[in-house]
């Protein structure tokens, strides 16, 4: 017997008039996991979160929390708490009053000693002990974020919902909060459901990533699975950086396919779905799976156009005749002057098994980007 999932979606569809925000989602979120709902804006991830919170009702299907159907249950009767994107702290209450707001609603009533004790514990948990009497507008963005977290966690919910909680923080603070959220989740042991459009955030923080697109779940898996074995072209493109090379299936051999690229080079690639000879495909090649060497070897030849030195690594934009621009990432070892310079010709190699071929259907759901080959932006 497997444990009852904390959150379960059964064929959930949500429509707003003629627009379908979420269509037919089945999803089970295991207990005590840190789960990220990841996708571009408009993919339905926030709608899913709001249906768990009870702010939206599904048009069809059921949302269950710990095995109980939540149809018709208003937000104030659900055992979940939410951290809102803009925190939504009550401006006319001080920090402690904000945190104890949920506790004050408990019936039978908690004694005021219990309330202030638990609020105090919650404050120390988010490292804000002694801030209880501060006004909300006296706090920095990071501190407000912590108050919002404490206000939700103090109620000991079954599930904590986080709606892009780190979007308003600067990069340094965001990294700190990511680590803190991870630690908190492990300490408390309840399920965290995080909505984000930031794939780095999703990969770095969560135990499971649920990639969504166009109102559907595209892939659910551990971060490394999502990155290494993307289910389709959309996931490959959306999660992490990748080079997408278009070509045609030239032959099938064992588990691999031979793909003829635009310039005629044939490379062997792995596949996730059956492909047939002559089919148009896109091959995904992660920048870090490319290796650069002096001209002579390798599968492809190109010329370095740009070099972005990042300290531990260096990224290169390489122009390959007939294919376009490729992004390559190479580790940098101190003292080894192995940096290629712009204008230098290089040979590009990659490990067997690194390329992944996907059918190049119109309906692959990728964000229609102009440069399908590579991105040099960091």
């Amino acid at each position: 017997m497997t444990a009852v999932p904390d959150i379960e979606f059964r064929a959930v569809t949500k429509r707003y008039g003629a627009v379908t925000a979420v269509s037919g989602i089945d999803l089970a979120i295991p207990p005590s996991a840190f789960v990220a709902l990841l996708g571009p804006s408009g993919c339905g991830k926030t709608t899913c979160l709001r249906m768990i919170g009870g702010f939206e009702q599904p048009s069809e299907g059921q949302v269950l929390i710990r095995g109980r159907d939540m149809a018709g249950t208003p937000p104030y009767r659900r055992p979940v708490n939410m951290v809102f994107q803009q925190y939504a702290l009550f401006p006319h209450l001080d920090v402690e009053e904000n945190i104890s707001y949920g506790l004050r609603q408990a019936r039978p009533r908690l004694s005021s000693r219990q309330i202030s004790q638990r609020a105090g514990e919650a404050l120390s948990m988010v490292q804000l002990a002694g801030y209880g009497r501060r006004k909300i507008h006296e706090l920095s963005g990071g501190q407000q974020q912590r108050v919002a977290l404490a206000r939700a966690l103090v109620n000991k919910p079954a599930v904590l919902l986080l709606d892009e909680p780190l979007a308003a923080l600067d990069k340094k603070l965001r990294t700190d909060m990511q680590i803190e959220l991870q630690n908190l989740q492990r300490e408390i042991g309840i399920t965290f459901v995080l909505v984000t459009h930031d794939q780095e955030e999703a990969l770095s923080m969560s135990d499971f990533v649920c990639v969504m697109n166009g109102g559907r779940v595209v892939q659910l898996g551990q971060p490394s699975e999502i990155y290494d074995e993307p289910a389709n072209l959309f996931v490959a493109d959306f999660v992490g950086k990748t080079n997408l090379l278009s070509g045609k299936v030239a032959g099938l051999s064992g588990g691999l396919v031979d793909v003829a690229l635009a310039d005629g080079t044939v490379i062997a690639a792995r596949k996730r779905v059956p492909l047939s000879r002559g089919e148009a495909v896109s091959v995904s090649l992660r920048p870090e799976s490319l290796s650069l060497s002096a001209p002579g070897g390798g599968s492809l030849k190109g010329i370095v156009r740009n070099r972005i030195f990042l300290g531990s690594t260096a990224e290169y934009a390489i122009e390959v005749q007939g294919i376009g621009s490729l992004l390559a990432k190479a580790d940098h070892v101190i003292g080894q002057g192995n940096l290629f310079k712009p204008g230098e010709p290089v040979a590009i190699g990659f490990a067997a098994g690194a390329p992944l071929a996907f059918p190049h259907t119109k309906n692959n759901g990728t964000n229609q980007r102009e440069d399908q080959n590579a991105e040099i932006v960091s």
Partner: protein, 270 residues
């Protein structure tokens, strides 16, 4: 250009300044300043007719402003939940209610009330068990109703503006933290809109306290302060009138400033 501006402001405020100045006149004439004195304030406040009118005005202003603040806030809250079209229609009607001239409001309210009384009074006479049935007529009630109705539009607009700037997330957050809709209203929405409600009350009070035109039509036998002033002027402008005018002016300015201060408050205290 500068001279023009100065002239405009002089034209606007000089008469008011003169009224204030002459209220402290020691002499008997409104046209000739003969020395400083506060005797007219004493005279005004010991005039029983005037004190009676002042009491009436205070009672009417307080009651109608309370009525307007309560109903106007309720209306603003209700308007939040209607469709965009209904909303636009009501907003236009509210705007219209505020710009319609006082004379028109006065006459139309008078006509409406008289018609209403003509219909209701015979019924009352019929149904009443004793020989002396109550008879609805113009008086306190009609002034309060007329002022309350007009001010309600004002309060609805002010509170509506505040409500539309209220963060919806706060309401959702409260609901997420186990608060029932009633608790959410009491502990989140009301504190947030309170400054607007108070400002609306103060403006409604000021309007009612100063109003002559509407009251003149529907007052019946009652006398409010502005009506008393109007009646006294026919007997000539005395420094006593100036003293009353100055009192009313000061009260109004203080109330309007209070209302402005309330509206400008960004963070209401709990």
């Amino acid at each position: 250009m500068r001279a023009f501006v100065v002239a405009v402001f002089a034209f606007l405020y000089l008469p008011i300044a003169l009224v204030v100045l002459f209220s402290f006149n020691a002499g008997h004439h409104a046209s000739e300043f003969t020395g400083f004195s506060v005797q007219w304030y004493g005279k005004a406040l010991s005039n029983p007719f005037l004190v009676e009118a002042l009491k009436n005005s205070l009672f009417i202003a307080t009651t109608s402003a309370l009525l307007a603040a309560f109903c106007g806030t309720a209306a603003a809250l209700g308007l939040q939940r209607v469709g965009a079209r209904t909303r636009a229609l009501f907003d236009a009607l509210l705007g219209a209610a505020i710009v319609v001239p006082g004379v028109v409001i006065g006459i139309s309210t008078l006509v409406a009330l008289v018609q209403l009384f003509a219909v209701v009074n015979p019924f009352l006479a019929e149904l009443w068990p004793t020989d002396q049935p109550p008879k609805l007529s113009l008086g306190y009630g009609s002034i309060i109703a007329a002022h309350g109705l007009f001010s309600m539009a004002l309060v609805t607009m002010i509170v509506g503006t505040r409500l539309s700037s209220l963060d919806r997330n706060l309401v959702e957050a409260s609901s997420d933290l186990y608060a029932t809709p009633l608790t959410t209203f009491r502990s989140i929405v009301l504190p947030q809109i309170m400054p607007a409600v108070i400002a609306g009350f103060l403006l409604a009070f000021t309007f009612s306290f100063d109003d002559f035109i509407v009251a003149f039509f529907v007052a019946g036998a009652q006398t409010t302060l502005p009506i008393y002033v109007f009646a006294s002027i026919r007997r000539g402008v005395t420094p006593e009138i100036n003293a009353i005018a100055t009192i009313v002016l000061c009260a109004s300015v203080v109330l309007v400033l209070l209302a402005q201060w309330q509206l400008g408050r960004r963070k209401p205290s709990p």
